[in-house]
């Protein structure tokens, strides 16, 4: 089962600081561990809410507003995409994430939809050709 581990409200120390370097190294180690276990399917940090732009299309008309979709104190800071055996493994890996000690971490299963685009399937197709 594929799980998305969503990270909320990550506080990073300023770039160049020792704390920043330590956290970055911890995250790189974490990703290396995920790859080694064969569960890593992707991850990205996101720019903060200050960089968010919201688009709505209503009656065919495009409406662009600055700022995030939902005004909230919670902001999505990044994600990991993991292929896990079950919820227990997903929770174990989410808890091992270096951001778990200060950020909010939410684990959500990816919904299985028949015929849905799957990068792994695409890769298999390419390899088969």
């Amino acid at each position: 089962m594929r799980y998305m581990v969503l990270l909320y409200n990550c506080d990073w120390s300023p770039e160049g600081s020792a704390e920043y370097a330590a956290k970055r190294d911890a995250v790189l180690d974490y990703v290396a561990m995920l790859r080694e276990r064969g569960v890593f399917r992707g991850a990205d940090p996101l720019q903060g809410a200050h960089a968010a732009t919201t688009v709505r299309v209503r009656d065919g008309e495009r409406l662009v507003t600055d700022g995030p979709f939902a005004e909230s104190h919670e902001w999505l800071a990044g994600y990991f995409l993991l292929e896990c055996r079950d919820l227990d493994e997903a929770l174990e890996l989410a808890a091992a994430c270096p951001m778990a000690s200060d950020a909010g971490v939410e684990v959500r299963p990816v919904r299985a939809v028949p015929g849905w685009y799957d990068p792994a399937d695409r890769l298999r197709e390419v390899l088969a050709e």
Partner: protein, 444 residues
């Protein structure tokens, strides 16, 4: 119609005194089905949830199998191995359901393949034509996995309790609703949501891996303990102090867990604790329904078998020398169980056990109990001093009751009355309210 010998041999003892008309055959089949189902329901359900990894499919499949049994058993005779019969039919019906409902989904495809293989192995030519292996051996014991699934910490505590009561204990949605003071419809809805959450979050139907075991086991123990205290303290109805059926179910699950996990000291500790508490069930209320406190209970009416079993489990737990909160609470209950009278209770030991419990798991409620035990072991003043240091129990009526009783013992009737009144303002259980009113009246 002659029953097929392979599986349909009519049960032994089918003597001439027994009727053979359709109504008799129907009644016999119904009785056999009832007996099989009530003895093996949890294992059947557990085996099916394990097979299909989906509560709803498993339950529907089991219901289909019961219905099929009532169509086939009266005319074909009760099968030699009714459990195997039900299991095989339920697997096929579950398979049919999966085929219809979820044919496109990967998980369903896997279950289908697995189940088809098993069905072929078990029954290559169709129901009734094979030598049946023992149903229970084939089934294995998936009940432990069922308990762990129902008690996964990713479910809310109340959802865990509700699901356990339904899936493990076999209560109907209406009965579970009664426990939570909810309508059957609302509870059925809540149970469906819990089962879908199990499916959609990817909670696997299995005993957890070693890494996850401590947390998962804690959750299981908390669910059983909550189930018991719900029955013991709150009761399903406000005017009834003890809801014995709920307590009995909790004891049953705790004992089952102790059989299935005999190497986990806290599992044994919890079973011991519940048995020892449960042994007093007949004496906690008077025939008029009034509360009887521990010191006034008729100890000859305590259930000796429960006490013996509780003490035995506690000894087995203690041999592992890994103390835990349930074992310590069981040890406290054991002190009460061993004391021939209230006066002969060893309060010094109990106060020490509470101190140990507070160290392991500090909470204001434990501090309250320790204060009372210390007061009993020494003087009311010593207990009152400890009580004065506790914060966070201002809205907890037992705190005010304890203060009132200790103040009463020091002779400070005025303060005792104030404390009883504060307790009365907080109490919600009618039985306890009557008890406090009589205590208050006795001060005059």
């Amino acid at each position: 119609m002659t029953p097929r010998r392979a599986h349909g041999g009519v049960a032994d003892g089918d003597g001439p005194e027994r009727g053979s008309g359709p109504a008799d055959r129907y009644a016999r089949a119904a009785a056999a089905l009832h007996q099989t189902f009530s003895a093996h329901r949890a294992r059947l359900l557990a085996g099916l949830v394990h097979r299909f990894n989906d509560f709803e499919v498993a339950e529907d499949a089991l219901a289909d199998a019961l219905e099929a049994a009532m169509r086939h058993w009266p005319k074909d005779g009760t099968p030699d191995d009714p459990v195997a019969w039900l299991l095989t039919v339920a697997r096929r019906r579950g398979l049919d359901r999966l085929r219809r409902v979820e044919a496109k989904q990967e998980r369903a495809r896997q279950s289908l393949a697995d189940a088809a293989t098993t069905a072929r192995e078990l029954n290559p030519a169709g129901v009734g034509d094979v030598e049946w292996q023992s149903g229970l051996t084939a089934l294995g014991d998936e009940r432990l996995a069922l308990v762990f699934t129902c008690c996964h910490p990713a479910l809310s505590l109340s959802a865990r309790v509700a699901l356990t009561l339904q899936a493990v204990c076999g209560l109907t949605a209406a009965d579970v609703g009664r426990v939570f003071l909810m309508s059957e419809a609302a509870m059925a809805q809540r149970l469906v949501r819990a089962k879908r959450r199990v499916r959609d979050t990817g909670i696997t139907f299995a005993v957890p891996s070693e890494a996850a075991l401590p947390e998962r086991l804690n959750s299981v123990l908390a669910v059983i303990y909550t189930m018991f205290t719900n029955g013991y303290v709150r009761g399903g109805r406000d005017d009834q102090l003890v809801q014995p059926a709920l307590c009995a179910e909790a004891v049953r699950v705790a004992k089952l867990l102790a059989v299935l996990m005999p190497d986990e000291p806290e599992v044994l500790g919890l079973a011991a604790l519940l048995l020892l508490q449960h042994s007093r069930r007949a004496t906690r209320t008077s025939p008029d329904g009034d509360l009887v406190t521990l010191e006034h209970q008729d100890r000859t009416q305590w259930d000796r078998d429960d006490i013996e079993e509780g003490l035995r489990l506690l000894r087995a737990a203690a041999r592992r020398t890994q103390p835990g909160t349930y074992q310590i609470q069981a040890a406290i209950a054991a002190e009460h169980a061993r004391a021939p009278s209230a006066e002969a209770t060893d309060w010094v030991v109990i106060a020490e056990l509470y101190a140990g419990l507070e160290e392991l798991d500090p909470s204001p409620v434990v501090a309250l109990n320790r204060a009372v035990a210390l007061a009993m072991a020494t003087t009311p003043q010593a207990g009152l001093e400890l009580l004065a240091r506790i914060t966070g129990l201002e809205r907890y009526h037992p705190y005010h009751v304890a203060r009132a009783e200790l103040l009463h013992r020091t002779g400070d009737t005025v303060s005792a009355r104030d404390a009883f009144v504060r307790a009365l303002n907080l109490v919600t259980n009618a039985v306890e309210e009557r008890h406090l009113q009589s205590r208050l009246a006795a001060l005059d």
